[in-house]
Amino acid sequence: MLGQIAYALPFLAEGFALTLWVSLLVVVLSLIAGVVLGVGLVYGPAPLRWAVRIFSDTIRGIPILVLIFFVYYGLPAVGVHLQSFWAAVLALTLFKIAQVVEYLRGAVASIPKGQSEAAMAIGLTFRQRLTYVIFPQAFRRFLPPWINGVTDAVKGSALVSLLGITDLMQAINQVIGRTYEAMPLYILGALLYFAVNYALSLASRRLEQRFAFIRE
């Protein structure tokens, strides 16, 4: 039995690498788009604020699995053809964007109004206020929940296995299909996911302590 699993290890490693790759893509893309939309939500004109609010509330209100199926099956129906890999990344990214938007909104909202006013009073323009006063402070509050939320991206990535993408989850299922060693392989998979996510959550805890001074 162990021999069979050892034989499958390179295959599992490839799946694991794909899981990390999908997670990384989702995390980076959602960070960029989420910050842009988050700034739109806080400072944008009313129509933009409404659009982002509706987007975020809708995405956060439905199961991530429904979003994945919607994007994967729905886009081709309206003429948009994406490789299943990119459809999966798109769906997971949309989901994560909504989270990033909320983290950002929360981080900016937690900064007292007086900070903005003090920055205005010394004559900083809107952009300067954001760059030198609001964002440096918001960043420290944004980071811990965001890193914590990275584990959600890793866990969510397991759902892409349902689109036939050979990530860690799918690799495990395939090896089980050949070896019938279900329990050891699921446990191995669980330990791998656990290792990545636990390391991430330890990192976020450490960061939280490091930035504790900012809360006076």
């Binding site: 006013e117 010394i122 004559g123 323009t125 300067q128």
Partner: protein, 269 residues
């Protein structure tokens, strides 16, 4: 020393300024002229509009009608005809920022930037607004920190400073920009009583050097000693104005003022 007469050219000219929050009229046609070098204390019960008036002067709040001019330049709106007919045009963001840089403001809650050191707080405006080099800004910051007695705290974060020290940095941050006028908004209200003195001492020394100041305060004794004029506000309007001795006189005929002072003396002396 300070000019008190109304016919000397006014540095700050507030003319018939009114403002409402919804249906509540917080400022009712307030007019006030402040000459260069004057120190004006604004007193009055809470909700009388003192702080709102101060915040209108650097346009942290907009006003509905009337005008506020510093050095004869309208603060928040572009010059144009028919100010009150709704044709007023708000200045551009860049313009407003430039106007605000001409007034310094010190806040009740200090509002220091917590991610910057004491020196960093002062240097931010100098480098980004005044366009000074880091080295130059640093030496100006050190100069002003020395003036407020905090030369040794230049590299401390606000969280490492006491309330009184934070507020002194707040004053240094405002005056380092060399504003034409300094606005002080109840700057000692959030301080423990034993820390009030050190902050007022700084304000007093600035007054002696001829800094033009408008301060909203609850420190009656300080208002009496340090200001050239006292403005008493009630219900959004200027109810009494004059030299400290006149306004704070116990035998004033102004009913409102008498009640305010009586209540004040009862609770503070």
């Amino acid at each position: 020393m300070a000019a008190t007469s109304n016919n000397s050219p006014a540095l700050l000219d507030i003319a018939e300024v009114s403002k409402s929050f919804g249906s509540v009229e917080v400022l009712r046609s307030v007019s006030l002229k402040v000459a260069k070098g004057e120190v004006v204390a604004v007193i009055g019960p809470s909700g009388s509009g003192k702080t709102t008036l101060l915040r209108c002067v650097n346009f942290l709040e907009s006003y509905d009608s009337g005008s506020i001019r510093i050095d004869s330049k309208e603060v928040g709106f572009r010059p144009g005809p028919a100010r009150d007919s709704g044709a007023r045009q708000r200045r551009s963001e860049r313009d407003l920022a430039a106007m605000r840089a001409e007034t310094g403001m010190v806040f009740q809650s200090f509002n220091l930037f917590p991610h910057l050191t004491a020196a960093g707080n002062i240097m931010l405006g100098l480098t980004k607004v005044r366009g000074k080099s880091n080295a130059e800004a640093r030496s100006i910051a050190e100069h002003w920190l020395g003036r407020v007695g905090l030369a040794h705290k230049a590299d401390s974060l606000p969280a490492e400073l006491s309330g009184g020290q934070q507020q002194r940095v707040g004053i240094a941050r405002a005056v380092a920009m060399e504003p034409k006028i300094l606005l002080l908004d109840e700057i000692t209200s959030a301080l423990d009583p034993e820390l009030v003195g050190e902050v007022l001492a700084v304000v007093r020394s600035l007054a002696e050097e001829g800094m033009t100041m408008v301060m909203v305060t609850h420190e009656m004794a300080f208002a009496r000693d340090a200001s050239s004029r006292i403005v008493f506000m009630a219900d959004g309007g200027v109810s009494a104005v004059g030299p400290p001795k006149e306004v704070l006189a116990a035998e004033t005929t102004n009913e409102r003022l008498r009640t305010f002072l009586a209540r004040f003396r009862a609770s503070h002396f």
